[in-house]
Symmetry: C3
Amino acid sequence: MEFKAKDIATLLHGVVEGDPEIGVNDVAKIEEGRAGTLAFLANPKYEPYIYSTRASIVLVDKTFVPAKPLSCTLIRVASAYEAFATLLQLYDSLQPRPTGIEQPSYIGEGVTLGKELYIGAFAYIGKGAKVGDHVQIYPHVYIGEGVEIGEHTVIYSGVHIYARCRVGASCILHSGAVIGADGFGFVPDGEGYKKIPQIGNVIIEDRVEIGANTCVDRATMGSTMIREGVKLDNLIQVAHNAVVGRNTVMAAQSGVAGSAKLGERCVIGGQAGVVGHLTLADGTHLTAQSGLSVNTKANAIMRGSPAFDVAKYQRCYVLFRRLPELYEQIKELDRRVKSLNQHSSKE
Amino acid sequence: MEFKAKDIATLLHGVVEGDPEIGVNDVAKIEEGRAGTLAFLANPKYEPYIYSTRASIVLVDKTFVPAKPLSCTLIRVASAYEAFATLLQLYDSLQPRPTGIEQPSYIGEGVTLGKELYIGAFAYIGKGAKVGDHVQIYPHVYIGEGVEIGEHTVIYSGVHIYARCRVGASCILHSGAVIGADGFGFVPDGEGYKKIPQIGNVIIEDRVEIGANTCVDRATMGSTMIREGVKLDNLIQVAHNAVVGRNTVMAAQSGVAGSAKLGERCVIGGQAGVVGHLTLADGTHLTAQSGLSVNTKANAIMRGSPAFDVAKYQRCYVLFRRLPELYEQIKELDRRVKSLNQHSSKE
Amino acid sequence: MEFKAKDIATLLHGVVEGDPEIGVNDVAKIEEGRAGTLAFLANPKYEPYIYSTRASIVLVDKTFVPAKPLSCTLIRVASAYEAFATLLQLYDSLQPRPTGIEQPSYIGEGVTLGKELYIGAFAYIGKGAKVGDHVQIYPHVYIGEGVEIGEHTVIYSGVHIYARCRVGASCILHSGAVIGADGFGFVPDGEGYKKIPQIGNVIIEDRVEIGANTCVDRATMGSTMIREGVKLDNLIQVAHNAVVGRNTVMAAQSGVAGSAKLGERCVIGGQAGVVGHLTLADGTHLTAQSGLSVNTKANAIMRGSPAFDVAKYQRCYVLFRRLPELYEQIKELDRRVKSLNQHSSKE
């Protein structure tokens, strides 16, 4: 399918600069553009490529001023990045979706299935589960007893959802994600440990995305909560009874310990960790590899392990890197003070 | 099913304070208690909730002295936390367990199956494997050739156990755990690497719990050992030929490199790592995000990356945070010494 | 099957010292050697065991000079470690491989299957996929639409490969690895986030090994690249559009953020992380738990979070550990300068 520059511009509320009739049938990175593709320029670092790209059309911010002549057609939009995301969504929405129930699959007693589902071969849907309309359940998915899945949710192959958990509408769960495994709860018992059964569940609200091999443990009692709009990357740990607030984003390999409450719009960097039972205010930002062990105020940016205010941390780390020099200064001061002392005692 | 305060007290060797006839049919967190539920108070931080909770019964330590009037019935026990764990276990033991062999499942030649098993649909049991009595094998579990599983062990959906590994009795393995994948062993070979086949296995002893998506690699030769009573949280890496000692506990996203030997009752914090070939004495505690690169003495508490004694680390980190101030002091000293020098040379 | 010392020596281009007719039928670690086994000594730390081992044959470097009498037969070779790896490979190659197509498995329309395959029960091969000769696909593997798998590749149980990804020849993918899940790409959209569809794929070249539960995300556009000979350990994150260069090795729980380009022969330590969009020169070494946020020069060794030159880091960390002492020195200097000042002002 080919799209013309003028039609794309209309769709994106943009303005064509160049040939309005030129057509594209694919998208490409600006540095890999070929004839018949559309690319975008958002990060100024990539500007040099626009002068040599072979892409037919490039989306640019309306403020873009070319420094050299261009051979591509431009479409100027408010935000090239957002406009490109919109186009990708359109492109994606045109891809065919799998439908129907492949065999063999296992559907337990009392399961309620919505309309226009896809259920892949070897998927397992436990007793009494409820699956909404337009849900896609890929092969090897395990849905435990009494689980509920909201409409338009996509569950990729090999996701495991333990009994009684709930997943909202329009969510995406990637392969290997484990929802509702037992929280890590033990009580010392002589020399060993006695398990504390975890009888709660996990509730995932609407429009949540859960990355590959990410784990969200079920609550001891009550629910571990993943609020509306949360985005979790791959290999993340969310422990029992934690709450991840609306539109919070966590990068890969980060973790949240038990009963921590993350506010809305928080950003947790890759490989960072949050100690249990903390309360993070809305908009808290924890940088990559940091470890948070204190409650935060709104929009705090925290760094270090244990973490504190990022600007202070930066200053401390700069001086950490200068410690050999500071050490020499201290030694030099010591020499000079000794010499002054001798001088002074000689007098 | 309803339980009366007096019966629960008898079961827990506790004493009722309030209405011995009041009944409950569920448990709840103290801050979420409703009529007909039983809650507990162990952490003093939660004491304020006991004065407003709507739970009918609250378990408390026998030493608890209320600061205000209470509307709930109390049961006083030696340890409210342990007593509550006991009740949860009782509650849990009353839940129905799945039984029987669902179809389609795959049971290879020469497999030995115990009594009263559950084998879920799409489970795969390789040639010659031995499965003990009362074992629960959920859907999508892979059990390789010659694997042995002890009685009363529960293996949740999507666990993968490679050939010839052994799992003890009364273990719990959570979804996505991988037991016995090849250890990471290569020998440089010109510009690339040649694989060292990993021909050993993994032995997991009794009463071990393995978290979701945790990996325990098989030994190059011999066995990677997870000793009796070990508890591993989610997303943990245990490399080839490591030994995790009895009743040791590892928090989520921590890792142990090849051939490290962890003693008994060690505690490894979240996202912490242990270098290969180390020996950790019994009771070693490694704090979260720390990296251990030295052998330890019994009950050592280690912090930092690389880690050293926690008390020393704390002092160093406090001063790290004060580095900008120390830097100013050094500059100030320098100024004063210069001024003294000038003074002294003028004389 | 028994092998004689003289035959093993011929195979390994080594020289027998002792009984050339002595036979072995198994391998063992030197500290666990039994009669009839072959062991090796490479790491001098293990030398004491050679004087007491009950192994019948021990491989040693040709330069090895025993300090005491030996009861085992030696085979002297250029590198005992490499020679032992060669033997393990031989041993391994003699093990039987599974073959045939087990039932039930799912093979979609238009799939192309090579010769002498193994396809385990409950494996799923999506429409139009191409699987090369001698490939082993274990149970519960998911191969998405249009995926290509090169010859002699082994895919263990529970690997998930999303649509249109490509895996080269002679690769090994361990259980739970997820190849081609969506990259983590969102654009802010009012208070929440709008997903950027990830329409690229993952290309894994030849002779790559991917560890258990490791994730390699698909590119937004174009391809996330895992070059020839790369070895990834368990629980690793490789984000969208990253490139991992030839023969690079990454240890467990490490991560590479989006669009980072790792050169050839890099070594990334356990739990280390690389920030997005960086370029790492060939031979870059990032130590365990470090976080790299700058581009590197060839063969740089980097440490810390954020990381800098390892030798400098070491010096800084030594002084970090001595901060309490430096602090005392500064206080002492302050006292002495005060005293000099008083002295000087008295004059």
